[in-house]
Symmetry: C2
Subunit: 240 residues, 2 copies
């Protein structure tokens, strides 16, 4: 499993991904699921990968090679919508290539992405690209998109990730949602990769990895538990 | 879907169930999923039902009829373990009767229960009974058991439902976990039935139904959201 979140606030974007991959509980490993394409002053593109690791790595590989080879590519197109289409093209090409072989082993092509960022001349945008290459874009009512093990983390995000929330508060909320998810699903694990993008910055200045035992993450967890217990205690008592 | 929770604290038990049943989003209804068998001073037994309504109602019906008919039944046995076995017997009898007919329609017998309570001479106990009639009992490490749409509500319960928590605080936590679940899954819906049982009381004095728009529930929701946003705001800031 995987847990990835993309958040779109008035003030910026937040991206987070866990890094556990596994083929059964007796065979797990750690791979970064966050890929950043950055050209300061021009564009910041962030991709969060879910699904089969061979598939997501192949898609990222194709995107990088095509970008290096010229023609229309992720460094040259002028909208995030075009970038989403280029990601979808790469996914469909990999599926065309690998799909029949996967099927012979009883498997299916399985890769999906959260894509977000900003290109100069356009506002920030956030997409979820499905395994078939079709995609949805977050609108004004949607402040976050999740992939993978989304249920355990969603109630926490619902509490504080409103479009007007500050990047700082929403970031804490995203981290707490990782803690909730990891508590209940062993297939989501640290390190967590986190990136915050301030609207119109057109460069990455806030990127951080949280390894197991990270001091800030531990403090956040204990303060969150203590704080919410206090809230429960202070909620009005039920009259029977 | 359904969402049922049974909680076992040092001080007592908490039971809650939603009441939405449905066969598709275009066909839903409201049925109470909480059944209480009470003989003040002797025993309190609470059953929370999940699964196919015809199956769970049939099981409850058989339990009531057998109790009225005498022999060994839920009013006469001397342990909660025996009660769990009687529920399992009823489930297996219904499956034996209905199973082949369900199979001919491509369906499976589908009923499961959370059972908890106390019989004089024994401490409180809490069980989860699976569709096959086998069951598990909550131990000292397990403070709650859930059935149905369990994921959205679990992170909230994890925060404050520790075995030493007060019945009052844990009850608020259970109600908030219903709010979180209903926000994300339309197939879980009000009214919510809630019962708190104080250890060794051997009678029911705290039972309450929350209909849509219940004034206390609305206050609880808004205080919870405001409280947790304050907690997020007060959590230490991330240094990049």
């Amino acid at each position: 499993m995987t847990y990835c979140v993309g958040v779109k606030l008035d003030d910026g974007l937040i991206f987070a991904s866990d890094s556990r991959t596994h083929a059964g509980v007796d065979n797990y490993a750690s791979f970064c699921k966050m890929t950043v394409f950055e050209q300061p002053g021009d564009r910041v593109l962030v991709l969060l990968s879910s699904g089969d690791l061979a598939a997501t790595q192949a898609v990222i590989g194709v995107l990088r090679q095509r970008a290096a080879a010229g023609a229309s590519h992720i460094w040259s197109v002028t909208s995030m919508f075009d970038v989403a289409n280029l990601v979808a093209d790469a996914m469909r090409d990999i599926e065309r290539r690998d799909g029949p072989f996967l099927e012979s082993g009883g498997l299916k092509f399985n890769a999906s992405f959260i894509l977000g960022g900003q290109i100069a001349g356009e506002d920030m945008r956030l997409f979820r690209i499905y395994a078939e290459g079709n995609f949805i874009e977050a609108g004004t009512e949607t402040t976050f998109l999740q992939t993978g093990e989304a249920k355990y983390g969603k109630p926490i995000l619902d509490l504080a990730v409103t479009h007007g929330a500050s990047l700082e508060d929403a970031t804490k909320c995203v981290l707490v949602s990782y803690d909730s998810t990891m508590l209940s699903n062993l297939s989501v694990g640290m390190p967590i990769d986190l990136l915050c993008y301030a609207r119109n910055a057109l460069q990455v200045s806030m990127k951080r990895r949280f390894d197991a035992g990270d001091a800030y993450f531990e403090v956040l967890k204990s303060h969150w538990i203590a704080g919410t217990r206090r809230v429960f205690h202070e909620l009005p008592a039920l009259v029977w």
